[in-house]
Symmetry: D2
Subunit: 304 residues, 4 copies
């Protein structure tokens, strides 16, 4: 098992065939593309990986493929995203069997769950499957924020090995960092556009969706921050913020998520990394104008 | 296949063993208990049925058991609750194979989905599985409200056969009722406490969680409304509102949902319908004081 | 002082001149128009009266004019809408001096205020000014819902004489009605489109914005409900729901409120009641197409 | 008129007498206390100044007192906080007459206002009163976020001279900073706990409520950031974060705002700056235990 050590851990896109099966060769190429750029880990079946759209078998196969290519070079984190404990446990067991090095679980969703019930959820996962467990704080998807108190309590008793923070609440992230032992509890920022701030606050790593397209940029940003060169980190971040505007190509005609995932996949196809930019149902696919706009963004960023 | 015809359609609780397997004899007794009271349908694997907690096999077995006992006497509606289209389709296919008479699907959740993407979701389900499809509007769980326009559009093109409205938005329900053909499009109110208002507005039926405990009450309320005796309907509703207070027995010590589901199951155990009031993880179980409070509520309502 | 006794209490629009001063003759005609229709009270400087836009002097003059025309025939309720207690007290004192028969105050807003602080707010108003005080529950404007517990506590100790419920929460309204003494505590529904439901639940009166345009309709609805003729009440409500669609004439080009207030005033101008449909800054005025659409709605409703 | 030039601009508390009149000598001492610490401006009648509680005359007198003590040494910004344009204009005119160097206005509140109506609001203020105008983005109080597009548009056409950002949305602040001319458009962060991040992003200044108690700390933080010494800035911020915990002394017994304002005023009284820690109605006052806790926090921070 490969240990977590912070750094850049992109949430790997899930390439699909035109029939919406897993496109295995494309996923292999994407994994290699990320490893070649020097990323420090891989996060499979996260939100960017369309986890909420993937049937169980497809999720499992995606993890298997990425773990196979990674082959222990970097840790592979598996998102075990489902509504509540009993369903999450099934994903956790499958992920361990397929080679995950760590698990990433959200608070329960759909079923209204009180913060007093969150500890039981994470403890049940940790007890059932012996892998490092990260809490995934993503209120926009699950409808509730993980309170700082809960994260700290579960860090202190060893339930949680870390936090992936996609809450946008930098004050909360800072509070967790202040109150946990950074030698054993690892925090990852899920922000593409404020990644430098996360590192400034002491976060160990980054999980940027657009890192699929420009992993080198985030690796540079991370290294600049690590050596305390904040001007370089900020300059790299500003460049990446500009590139990130490509997520808006479909605005007005579809939801933000369809636009963003569509743009990531279109970009990966334009770069020759994946074969097909198809996204899951019911996302609205980009049209030709929007696809051209994605390529223009990549060209402007010097990636194409 | 048994046709939907409105009326009282309780969302059937899912009895569990102490090991949290499906308690089949208890579920058979619960189904018979509801049928004996004259309910007009059964809604399996809904929110009250702890659907978000049940692994796929448990969901399927619950549907199979209820459909077996119902044996065509009343229609069995199956909740096919999952994050997005491809995952929901798997539940839809399984439900049809196991004897569901109709399917009930929410808008996508977890993955941020724009209303412009909702029609594609429901159309894909309807196209894949030939059963009447009801939209389940439950913003508290899925984070978005089904717009009236979307429901009407999908009613008009035959995608949807009905609506289960748990939004609490009676204005929206009324607008849907005004704009759809009540001979072919059926609306069900998911409210326990304003069920009379739903019927006053013209809703075809009711899906009351506490109908597990007092199905006779809701059947009486429904029949009073059907014959236009609003005073009787309102009086029955006031009685049921009082009983419904039992959902608060755990307030302050746990979430509202844990308290409500715990109270329903405790009540069913007290009535001798199910063997064990156990609920799914990570719900906090009722303690002895809270359990006694549930029984006191039932006694006061003359049910015990 | 004229006593509150339920019934139809329209929130009176505030006619303005082209210079956005109070248009006194128009307000006098509007008041007479409402009284002629048999309304049971008048609510001045409410949300429909653009209270949030009116400088103090304009608010005071509007109250003075309406109270003058009403001349004790029906009670005049004055909205004393401001951010928190000390500012609200100033409006309360002025309103009493100008002839208000009752006061209507919201929970504090802008300053984040906890429900534990609401009782002190209403008690301070009641202690300072000896007029019946109604709580105005309008979470869409103030950002917080008045809890049922708080309303009941303040009804029981005599602080509040009633509730104007614009929360849309019929369950909460029903709970207040169940738990207060209807002989002394009066509830008004602020809904235009579910007014019949409010009366069905036992509310004493209605405060419908579009009652400015069609007071006869709401008076008919109220009388039908009072005599228990729910079919007639519902039929009238359906007609009024259709008329209410005119609030959407500006949708897409402006906010909902600008569209609604603009439509009410345009309609009053079309009916010859007020001279000028001008609304306050920064509301966007209706354009010619939208104004024509308002008149078409009135014509279809047989009002023009 | 004294020009804005960034830096530390505390939102000045408003000391009250036991009768809740303005305590002029205390406000004079508080102003001097802040000037002595080297602050770069003073923000009167902001949220921390209890603006939402202050009657017009009290607001005006507070501005007059602070402007008198400041006497042109630093710019005095006046919050002109009210529901919508016509009411805000009255505050704007009064503030100019009383010596304000700049005005700070929020988006309209209470009256539901669409973003398309925000530009008209700010343009009307700017047109009516010739003072630099800052937009105050405080969604927690007004219920809507100022969109980046709107701020940029109003910066470009000269309506706005700056932004006070209390939204907590650092991504939005960064976007505004990227798209405006920093020589003429000034951004202030309203965060006490992420002030270093705001400066890291390029914000010109800070408006920290707890700067009333420890202005030296924020001045040090600001100077460290200005010279690019991020380690020193971060260390100072960590110290101030710890001090800021005193806002929680009343948690559980009152709202967060009552607790925070109560703590600031108790602290100022403990420091001998103001005579009386009284806060406005209906805020719940701190009890003796909570007051002692505030003093313990100050002692721990070396301020007492």
């Amino acid at each position: 098992m490969t240990q977590l050590h912070g750094g850049v851990v992109p949430p790997v896109c899930t390439p699909l065939t035109s029939q919406r099966d897993l496109d295995v060769p494309s996923l292999e190429r994407l994994t290699a593309h990320l490893l070649d750029a020097g990323v420090h880990g891989l996060f499979v079946t996260g939100s960017t990986g369309e986890v909420a759209y993937l049937p169980d078998q497809l999720r499992q196969r995606a993890l298997e493929v990425v773990a196979g290519v990674a082959a222990g070079q970097v840790p592979v984190l598996a998102g075990i995203i489902d509504t509540t404990t009993p369903r999450v446990l099934e994903h956790a067991r499958a992920a361990k069997a397929l080679g995950a090095d760590a698990l990433v679980a959200t608070a329960p969703f759909y079923a209204p769950t009180h913060p007093s019930e969150f500890p039981g959820h994470f403890r049940a996962i940790r007890a059932a499957v012996d892998l490092p467990l990260l809490a995934y704080d993503i209120p926009a998807s699950v409808g509730s924020k993980l309170p700082v108190e809960v994260v700290v309590e579960l860090a202190e008793d060893g339930t949680l090995a870390g936090l992936k923070d996609s809450s946008g609440d930098l004050d909360g992230l800072r509070a967790v960092l202040e109150r946990t032992d950074r030698a054993v509890f690892h925090c990852y920022s899920g922000s593409e556009t404020l990644a430098d701030l996360g590192l400034f606050l002491g976060a160990h790593g980054l999980v940027p969706g657009i890192g699929n397209l420009d992993p080198h940029g985030y690796v540079r940003l991370y290294h600049a921050a690590t050596r305390g060169d904040w001007d370089a980190a900020r300059a790299e971040q500003l460049r990446l913020r500009k590139l990130f505007q490509l997520i808006h190509v479909g605005d007005g005609r579809m939801g933000r998520y369809s636009s963003a995932i569509g743009a990531f996949k279109e970009g990966l196809a334009a770069l020759g990394v994946i074969a097909n930019p198809v996204t899951s149902e019911p996302m609205i696919p980009l049209d030709d104008t929007e696809r051209a706009a994605v390529r223009a963004h990549l060209a402007e960023a010097g990636l194409l």
